[in-house]
């Protein structure tokens, strides 16, 4: 009797990217941090950058991102990720250095460090998560909070007469000569997630080519602090955030214009 070996019929189509550690994250169900992590990790894998990349994590919900990405990583002080990344990149100009920051960290307490990194044309990549709220501290008003949006520190809705209007980071940084690449994407549905990944890939390519400061602003959901189900939160991004934060390419280097998406005439 001859035993016939049967070829396995399984075909692996989806797995954890190597650049993500084999860990459970602490992120809330429905939070898009997980999506953003996966997109960045897939890009690092595809560009074969895992072994040559240094992450600077920030303070906020993504404080533990240094554990979730399987790359060399530092955990910066609140708002100082771009300054710390500057120190690292200047010592290792041949390595890929990126920060992963939320809106409180980048656009409030760390705005000076972010702006000046861009002004210097620091050749680093910033992954910027904009969910219109302070997540980790429990849902306070952020500089990105929408007009009228209720938070635990704007209980009557954000009053723009008292607290100003939302900050448009992608547009703001695009105006700086040192910025090579500045775009805004969203993660509220599959099509937009794929567009977000493409932008992340371009941002890292910009850094690989030494073109200057690159940033991808990602509109993200916070079901817990918005007090919504995950699906409601994604719809809220689409219906409420997109009108305030238009998606688009605010600056793309000429040499990479072919990868430009959502070209507006």
């Amino acid at each position: 009797m001859v035993t016939q070996l049967v070829e396995p019929t399984e075909k692996l189509v989806y797995q954890r990217p190597d650049s993500l550690a084999e860990l459970y994250t602490h992120y809330c169900p429905g939070c898009t941090h997980g999506t953003a992590h996966r997109l960045v990790a897939e890009v690092l894998d595809e560009l074969r950058l895992q072994n040559d990349t240094i992450l600077v994590a920030s303070v906020g919900c993504s404080v533990f991102s240094y554990k979730y990405f399987d790359v060399d990583a530092a955990e910066a002080a609140h708002g100082r990720a771009c300054a710390m990344a500057t120190g690292i990149k200047r010592v290792h100009p041949d390595k890929i250095v990126f920060t992963y920051q939320g809106d409180g960290d980048l656009a409030s307490i760390g705005l000076a460090e972010t702006m000046h990194a861009a002004i210097r044309g620091e050749n680093i990549t910033v992954i910027f998560i904009n969910n219109a709220i302070y997540g980790m501290t429990g849902g306070q008003m952020a500089p990105t909070t929408l007009p009228g949006q209720e938070t635990t520190s704007s209980p009557f809705g954000r009053d723009v007469r008292l607290t100003g209007n939302p900050i448009h980071v992608a547009e703001l940084l695009a105006a700086i000569p040192g910025t090579a690449y500045s775009v805004r994407r969203s993660m509220h549905d599959a099509r937009h997630v794929l567009q977000a990944k493409k932008a992340i890939q371009t941002a890292f390519t910009v850094q690989q080519q030494g073109l200057g400061f690159s940033i991808v602003e990602l509109l993200s959901s916070c079901p817990t602090n918005w007090k919504m189900t995950p699906n409601e939160a994604l719809s809220w991004v689409r219906d409420n955030m997109l009108p305030v934060y238009p998606l688009g390419d605010y600056k793309v280097p000429e040499s990479l214009q072919s990868t430009k998406r959502g070209k507006r005439d």
Partner: protein, 369 residues
Amino acid sequence: MSKELLKGNIAIAEAAVRAGCEAYFGYPITPQTELLEHMSSRMLELGRVFLQSESEVAAINMVYGAASAGARAMTSSSSPGISLMQEGLSYIVGSEVPAVIVDVVRGGPGLGNIQPSQGDYNQLVKSAGHGDYHPIVLAPANIQEAIDLTVLAFDLADVYRTLVFVVADGTLGQMMEPAELPPMRALRPRPEWALTGKGERPQNIISSIYLSADLLEAFNQKLQAKLALIAQREVRYEAYQLEDAEYVVVAFGTVGRIAKTAVQNLRRQGIAVGLFRPITLWPFPEKQLSELADSGRIKAFLVTEMNAGQMLQDVRLAVGRDVPVHFYGRMGGVVPMPEEIETALAELVNGNGRLPKTILEGKNGHPTR
């Protein structure tokens, strides 16, 4: 190597370069700016990292990044700038990366002035950031010592993976005197814990976060053990004419140097005075001072500082209650003349260990400027 006429700030900068400083980040502030200026040409000449940051907050976090990346990194500033760095200092200690910071102290509080002061003693020794730790604080009294201690600062930072301050003041930063620079050292290799891209090894992480209370306490216990080791091994001080001294002036940095002149003048009159000059403000030479107090020979100590008596508290803790400890200080950027310290010491001697009230108040009958 031979002696050359050097300005303090530039001597410290060049000493750092020769000690193998690979990355400098800083922000202009008087009276330390020449240090940054020297680095701006010298580091680039050598193909090393120089960056003028947008603020002291950014500077210290750039140092944190560069040190995490495995470079010998430093910044320099003056009092208000150091205050701005406090959070970063704490992160550096909490994640155990080596860094060197030069503080050329100026008069405070607030904007104060740009004159020499020692008003940062507490800021550096007692409260350089949140949490339980002390940085190593080295206090030179002349330019040669500033050079030597700058080199030592980088070595100590590496050995203990901690923060080391070199504390000067406007006098030391701005004055010129002959001194010898050290030979140029090669850059040291990257430590194995540094962030360099993981390559084939497991991930390296530089972080100061321990969400679990037990883990944070365990880290703190380890940190305290390290600090205890530093306290045991790294105390440095100068003992000048203490063998037979009955009266001892305790002073550090520039004031230590001025006090030495006062001691020399009184010695010429046959008065048994000596100088105890802490070189490490932390670890403070507590045991040595305590033993001196316990010798039974000392009738009184006189602490002199360019502040309201910040080191005074450490001297009192070391000396205890058996020997009187008096204080004579000038503030707000006023540098005492040797005669002032001499007069205070002489009156202490005449009063058999007691100072007249006028001296205690620091006014009347003493040279003022």
